[in-house]
Symmetry: none
C-alpha cells in the first residue's frame, strides 16, 4: 500500500492507546491518538484528517456514542468510518445505541489484535456503511435509518421491526456466515429463543426481498448458518 491509512484512536487510557498504536503501526497504519473528544473534534474538522476512528465507549468528557452522533450530524465527518471499542460488561441494550449512532462496527474488549486489524481493513475496504443521507444502500436495497424503513428500488416497503433489525445486521455484516446463535445474540437482548426462529425470519425476509430478486443474496450455508453475500450466487 502506497499511502498509509490514518487511524485516530480516542481513548482515555494511555495504556490502551499505546497498545493499539503498537499493534496498528506495524500493520501499516499511521496512528494518531488522543485522550478526549474535545481534542478529537478539533482534529477532525480538517478535511480528510483521518481515514478511520477507533472510539472508546467510555470517555471522560463525553460518551463515545454521543461523540459519534455529533460526528454524524456534521457534514464533514458524516461519512467517517467509526469502529467502537466496548467493554464486555456493556449490555445488549447499549448496542442499540450503536445503530443509532451509525457506527460502522464495534469490537468488545478483550479483543485480539488480529481481529481488530481484520475489522479495520473490512471497514476501510467497504467504506462507510451509511451515506450522509442516513441510508444504508446495497444494490437495489436501502434502509432509511431515520425512518426505519426499507426501500427497494426507491419504493418504500413495509418492514417489521425484527426483519428490519435482521436486514440491518446483514447489510452491515456482509460476506460472512453467521450461525443462528450469533444472529440471535445480535438481534435479541435475552436470546433464549429456539434457533429455528431464525429460519422462520429468514424465510420472511426472503419473501419480502423475493419480488426484487434480492433474496438471492441471502444464502443458506448448510451446517453453518446464513450469509448475506455481496456477489450474487450462480
Amino acid at each position: 500500500m502506497s499511502t498509509q491509512n490514518k487511524i485516530l484512536i480516542v481513548d482515555d487510557e494511555a495504556a490502551i492507546r499505546t497498545m493499539l498504536r503498537c499493534a496498528l503501526e506495524p500493520a501499516g497504519f499511521t496512528v494518531i491518538d488522543l485522550a478526549d473528544c474535545t481534542q478529537a473534534w478539533r482534529l477532525l474538522q480538517a478535511k480528510n484528517a483521518v481515514d478511520l476512528l477507533l472510539l472508546d465507549w467510555m470517555l471522560p468528557d463525553q460518551s463515545g456514542i454521543e461523540f459519534a452522533k455529533r460526528l454524524r450530524a456534521q457534514l464533514a465527518t458524516a461519512d467517517l468510518p467509526i469502529i467502537m471499542l466496548t467493554a464486555k460488561a456493556e449490555e445488549r441494550n447499549k448496542l442499540k445505541g450503536l445503530e443509532e449512532a451509525r457506527v460502522d462496527d464495534y469490537i468488545t474488549k478483550p479483543f485480539s489484535i488480529r481481529e481488530l486489524i481484520a475489522r479495520i481493513n473490512t471497514v476501510l475496504r467497504r467504506g462507510p456503511v451509511q451515506n450522509h443521507e442516513g441510508r444504508i444502500q446495497f444494490a437495489a436495497l436501502a434502509l432509511n435509518l431515520d425512518h426505519k424503513t426499507l426501500l427497494i428500488n426507491n419504493q418504500e416497503i413495509n418492514i417489521t421491526p425484527k426483519l428490519y433489525a435482521i436486514l440491518y445486521f446483514f447489510l452491515t455484516h456482509r460476506d460472512k456466515v453467521y450461525t443462528r446463535q450469533q444472529l440471535l445474540d445480535n438481534l435479541a437482548a435475552d436470546s433464549f429463543y429456539d434457533e429455528r426462529t431464525i429460519d422462520r425470519q429468514i424465510k420472511r425476509l426472503r419473501d419480502l426481498l423475493e419480488p426484487s430478486g434480492m433474496a438471492d443474496y441471502l444464502i443458506t450455508v448448510r451446517g453453518h448458518g446464513y450469509q448475506f453475500t455481496s456477489k450474487k450466487q450462480c
Copy 2:
C-alpha cells in the same frame, strides 16, 4: 470439544503456578507448569506440545518477552498462541515489547480468573494459521473461514460440514498422526461412532481433493491412523 486444550504456564513463583493450575483445570484445560524458560524451551520443541503458553513477564533466566521472541523466531513455535502475564507496575515501554514479540494477548495482575479464561478461549478460538483474510491456507488449499468454503487454487468449492471440520482439523494439525478415535473425538461431541466412519470420511475428503492432486498429502499410517503432511510423499 472433547480433547482438552493443553496450557503451559511458565512462572517462577510456585504460588502463582498453583493458583493458575487450580483455576484452569476445572475449566477443562490440561495444565503443565514450569518455573523457567530453559525447561519450557525444551518442552516446546516437541511438535504440538501445548496449545497455548501463559508466560510471566519476569522470569529468572530470561525475560518473558525475550523468550517469546525466541519462540517466534523458530518455525516450530512461530504460531504458538502466547498470553503474557504482566504486573500492573510497568506500563508503557512494556507494551511495545508485546507487539514486537507478537504476543497474542496480555493480562495484568491482579486479574480475575474469569477474565483469564475468557481471554484464553478467545485466543484459542481464533485458531493458529489463519491469515489476515480469514483463511487457513496450505499450498493449493485454503479454507475460507468466513464463507465456510474450501478453496482449491482460489476456486471456491462447496464442502459439507463434516468434511469442512475434518479438513480444518488436519490443516491446523499437520504432520502428526491421529488415530481414528482422536479424530472422532475432535469432530463430534458425543462420538460413539464406529471408527470405520473415519475411513469413509477420509475417502470422501480424498475424492474432493483428488482433482487438485492435494489428496496426496492426506496419508494413511497403517495400524495407527491418518496424517496430513506438509511434504508430499513420494
